[in-house]
Each structure stands twice: as C-alpha cells, then as structure tokens.
Symmetry: C2
Subunit: 202 residues, 2 copies
Amino acid sequence: MPAESQTRPPRADAVRNRESLLVAAREAFAEHGMDVSVSEIAQRAGIGKGTVFRHFATKESLTAAIVSGRLDELAVTGRTLLEAADPEAALLEFMTAGVELHVSDRSFCQAATTDVRRDPVVRAAADRLSGVAEALTDRARRKGVIRGDITGQDVIRMLTAACQAAAPDEDVTGAWRRYLHLIFDGLRAEGARPLPPLPPTA
Amino acid sequence: MPAESQTRPPRADAVRNRESLLVAAREAFAEHGMDVSVSEIAQRAGIGKGTVFRHFATKESLTAAIVSGRLDELAVTGRTLLEAADPEAALLEFMTAGVELHVSDRSFCQAATTDVRRDPVVRAAADRLSGVAEALTDRARRKGVIRGDITGQDVIRMLTAACQAAAPDEDVTGAWRRYLHLIFDGLRAEGARPLPPLPPTA
DNA sequence: ACACAAGTTGACCATGCGGTCCGCTTATGC
DNA sequence: GCATAAGCGGACCGCATGGTCAACTTGTGT
C-alpha cells in the first residue's frame, strides 16, 4: 500500500483531550481575555498543564489557534451570506455577526492590539476572511447601494471599528447596534463625499 | 497666618524627578504599550525604581495619571476648537486630533480595553472630555450639518472607533484618515437613516 | 493477554514582575 | 555650616507565569 499514512493516527483519548482543551480555551479567553494562565485553562479542561503543552508547544500557538478559529467562523457565516437575496442586508448582517463575535469574546477585542496577528496561522485565516468580505462588498457595490470607493478591507476595518465603539466595558446592553448602523450609513452611496485615497504603500 | 499650607512644599529635586518620570512614562507607554515594566520606566527616567513608587504608590495609579493626562490634552484642543468659525470643520478637526493621539500612543489604544478606565482619575478626565465633545457636537448639530440624533458620547465613541480601524500595526502610512472620513460621512445629516435607539439603561 | 509506544501528569525551574525597605544622600531653614 | 527630615536607590521579597521533565498510565495492534 504505497499511499499509506506514515504516522499512526493519534490516540482516541488524545483527540478527546485536545477537544476539551480547545473548548476550555475558547471559553476562558472569551470571558477573561487573552491573559488567562495556561494552568487555568488546563484546570478548566480537566487536564494537566503538561498536556496543554503537548498539544500546543507554546501558549502563543494556542491563542493563535483559537483566534484563527474565530476568524474562520466568521468567514463561514460570511460565505453562506453570499447566497442571500439582498446584498445590502447581507453585508449588514455580516458586519453584525462580526461585531457580535467581538462583543461576546474579550480576547478577540484585545487580539486587534496584540502581536497574535503576526502569527502565520492567524494571518492565513485573516486573509480567508478578507476574501469573503471582498466578495460581499463587491456584490453590494455592484448593486449601487454601497459607495464605489469601498473595499473589503474597509469593511473589515469598519467592523472592528464598530465593536471598538461598542464600549467593551460592562455595557452588555447592545449599544453597539447603534454604532454599527451609524457606520453603515457612512458606507452608503447616497450623500457620499470623496474619500482621501489610501497612501501608496497600502 | 491662618491660611498657611500645612505641609512644606516639595523639594526641588523631587519635582524635577517627578517630571522626568512622567515624561519617561509617557514615552515608554506610547512606544511599547501599557505593559512596560516599572523598572524600565525608571531606568529611562534616570531614577531608581523606588523613587517611582514614592511618587505613585502603585503602577496602576501611574498609568492612570498618564492616561488622564492624555485625555486632558485632547480636551484642551477641543476647547480651543470651540472658538473656531466653522463648527463642522471644528468637529472634524477635533476627531482628527483624537485619532492622531491614539495612533501615536500604543498604550492609549490598549487603554480602551483595560480596567484603567475604572480609575476615578481617568473617569474624571473622561467626563471633562465628554463635556467638550458634547459642546462641539451641539454647535455642529445646531448648524444642521450633523444628524440630529448624535450625542457627544457618540462622537467620542466613533473617534475611538476610527483609530481602531486605523490598523494599530505597522501601518504608519496614515490610512486612518480614510476611515475617519468614512465615519464622519456617517455622522452627516444628508442621507441619514433613523438610528436604533439606545437601550434604556444607557 | 501482552508489550510498547503514545500520552498524561504535576512537581519543578527560571524568569520577570510589582512592591517593600532601610541605609544613604541632599535640599532646605536657621 | 549644621541639623534635620524629605527624598533617593537598588538589593530584596513573594508571587505568578510559561515552559520542562521523568515517572507513570493507558490505548492499541498483534
């Protein structure tokens, strides 16, 4: 059998542990931000600290895995939204989902300020997401409802902007909807004013 | 002399040291974010670590002092902008100054995500700033150039939003101007759509 | 049933942090 | 000048963290 896999498949309990670890990490990060200790995550997952480092050589790579996972989640919902009938509504819904993600996950807000984004894994996920955003924007733009000088990158940026405005503090009241709408209005074609062009390097 | 100050005035060198400390802290925070060590700041200021803690009992209070200082800077420029002829331009310029502040200071971006904002000193400065923003917004709104349902709080929020969008990474190219304009367009009266109301608690 | 490798674990280590303390220096008032 | 207390500094402490390791457990193929 020439096409045989060289390495044995991972043990069953290892797979289980990995899963609990990922779940625990996702929860812990969401609740307390990216600076929860590895020990705490391990405890939460019901496994030893050593096991964590067996699955992820470093804490950085763990966080990278979680963050990139979140990005991919959003990319997936974005991709399904590409099938939606109304491009404008779809774009708004996409952005809404993005902000919701940020609001429900403290670590995700911090991620924007941190070096995690340098990580190749995260970079890749971000690029995938960018592609989806670009497609969604394209559709809306083609329909003329969105100003012509807006890129997918812009949409992503404005999305993170909206959730920043959403007051990451005790405000669970959903004030972010207000700001998202405000920003979304700025994206609309009607009443648009010319935008300063992006500097050459970008 | 009944109105005499109870405590002796601080020593001259103490004043000097305090000043270097503040300058060093401001620079260090701006460059490396809020997690620079106290020792590093002390070294940078050319004083001992103990001296830092003499002036500020805790690191938290140091950061609070710096952050509130920055907020006050912005409040000052805002106040002078109140005298400007064109309310719209004034508002835009105010927001521009705010974003510029964020972009030039890594710690300031992080501050939005952290607990520093709970600190009473910071709270007070933020309130002062809020007042100025409210006044500036009022003027612009009264002239009808800004949509009617916008508050000063909104302006502040959108300001921090803009600088979040400004890609706090290596991007020194000033792409944030683009996003600020985009957001500012969303604040304009023309083409505005009704905003979802703020939840009751806010 | 067995042997063995894959996997687990928690004690352990090095490091870096915020914060303390006490002996020393120095500005200040007379 | 001198006495005095305000100010200074850096060795030091306790603590938490990311990461390692060697002894032990357990799933798996035969």
